[in-house]
């Protein structure tokens, strides 16, 4: 088998898995897609109401709906990818029956699906807002997507690590929720790095998710520049997590019981 054949087979498997995941994630009727939209929309609605009630303004005069959408969608993209990735084996044991389906393929398929879903969700939300206010200004679409790609890869590699750890110890699955929840509040969804006092900023910027959110925000809003966000910092995390995840996957591969 040449490298090209191998790559083609891999793509075929990931493609087939992604289609299948679409059906199992959203259900077989089309209305299922609505649910993917509903959760972030609910969060945005809640915080919109809270901001309005408290009379709070966004930093730098950014529009509230896109401001919340940038933070919440980027974060959800990261956390859902990690979450779905970490549960990939448990939900798909039957598939490892087919020798050319590997853990990596399951996670790749789920990552692709989450990325496509949340990019769509983002488009729908900011699109609806743009229609409502009759204005759409995007600073750099490429940079926006770059930030989302980083969030997605960060989630995927974290998912790979968690997925392999779950094989050894199911406790990981239970610890995941409580450990991830604080990230929702400290990843810059409701504040910007620029608006923080420098001491708090130095601490919070250890969190790579915050960098992703900042990059997306920088890309979207012409009036915002994320001077403290670093793509290479996120990439370093991604490489480290990928290295750990792939090593762990190798180590536990024999322990996965195919039933």
């Amino acid at each position: 088998m040449t490298l090209v054949d191998g790559a083609a087979a891999q793509l075929r498997v990931v493609h087939a898995l992604a289609l299948r995941e679409t059906k199992t994630r959203f259900g077989t009727h089309r209305l299922g897609y609505l649910w993917a939209l509903l959760e972030p929309a609910f969060w945005i609605g809640t915080f919109y109401a809270l901001y309005a009630l408290a009379g709070r303004h966004t930093p730098g005069g950014m529009d509230l709906v896109p401001f919340l959408a940038v933070g919440i969608v980027s974060y959800e993209l990261f956390s859902k990818t990690a979450d779905r990735g970490s549960a990939a084996i448990g939900a798909n044991k039957a598939l490892l029956f087919y020798p050319h389906v590997h853990t990596i393929d399951l996670i790749a398929a789920r990552t692709v699906l989450e990325a496509a879903t949340y990019v769509m969700v983002f488009v729908v939300i900011v699109g609806a807002h743009a229609l409502a206010v009759q204005e759409l200004v995007v600073d750099s679409l490429l940079r926006t997507l770059w930030g989302m790609a980083l969030a997605s890869l960060l989630g995927a590699t974290l998912g790979l690590v968690l997925c392999s750890l779950t094989v050894v110890s199911p406790t990981v699955e239970r610890m995941k929720g409580p450990l991830m929840r604080p990230l929702f509040w400290i990843s810059g969804l409701f504040f910007t790095a620029e608006s923080l006092p420098s001491r708090a900023r130095d601490v919070l910027l250890w969190n790579p998710v915050m960098h992703c959110v900042e990059i997306v925000r920088d890309g979207w809003f012409p009036q915002y520049t994320a001077r403290h966000a670093s793509a290479s910092y996120v990439l370093a995390w991604i490489v480290a997590l990928a290295f750990a995840g792939l090593t762990l996957e190798r180590a536990v591969r024999r322990k996965v019981e195919v039933t």
């Binding site: 075929r12 087939a16 299948r20 039957a94 598939l95």
Partner: protein
């Protein structure tokens, strides 16, 4: 062709390690069908998963050439929330086969009526086996790995399976594991008894039967 070289597989149990396959070496040649007899828990299904590549041995090597099927049996490989058809489309895709051809063939062979368009979780075990069998027949494999499955279904279905394999004898072989002699008798050229992680090979079913019953 599949060759096993010193394949060892151990499961850990509360009572200590349980050796399922013990330095097993065997050559499954092309177009020679092999029937493997073993008691429940002798490691038959494990052996099939290792042959297919779904599970890795602890030690030793498995060499394959040609297309080898997944272990065809009652369980595994299907997603319960998807319909029979959707499952067939998925498998056709990962094996790079013509989707419509596979679906049509599997549907005709399984012959489960409208259930083909129902979620697989609503199937009886017989129906699942029929679908698994039809689906695997729709994709051309050089070696079929079969886990008891031909023992299910009514006489009509069993005859259909036998005819199908007889037609393919020239291009494919089959490796069947079972705990009963009747299942493998009509399909195989040579017979093995799997006991204590080792193979005992027989050319004649009678000898295999005697050895199997003696244990």
């Amino acid at each position: 062709m599949i060759e096993l070289r010193d394949v060892t597989k151990t499961y850990s149990t509360t009572a200590g390690p349980h050796v399922v396959l013990d330095r097993l070496s065997f050559l499954f040649s092309d177009r020679v069908s092999v029937g493997i007899l073993g008691r429940n828990g002798a490691g038959k299904s494990t052996l099939l998963r290792i042959l297919g590549g779904a599970e890795l041995p602890d030690a030793g090597r498995v060499l394959r050439s040609g297309r080898v099927s997944w272990p065809i049996g009652f369980a595994g490989g299907f997603n319960g929330s998807l319909t029979g058809e959707e499952n067939c489309r998925f498998v056709a895709r990962i094996y790079g086969a013509e989707i419509d051809v596979v679906v049509e063939y599997a549907q005709a062979f399984a012959d489960i009526g409208n259930y083909f368009h129902m979620p697989v979780r609503t199937y009886s075990s017989g129906m699942r086996a029929r679908l698994a069998f039809g689906l695997s027949m729709a994709i051309d494999f050089d070696t079929y790995l079969v886990d008891e499955v031909t023992a299910v279904g009514d006489k009509l279905f069993q005859d259909k399976c036998k005819r199908e394999f007889a037609d393919r004898r020239e291009r494919s072989s089959v490796i069947i594991v079972s705990h009963q002699i009747a299942t493998i008798r009509d399909y195989c050229d040579i017979f093995c008894v799997l006991r204590d992680g080792r193979f005992h090979v027989f050319e004649q079913i009678k000898e295999a039967e005697r050895a199997y019953k003696a244990a």
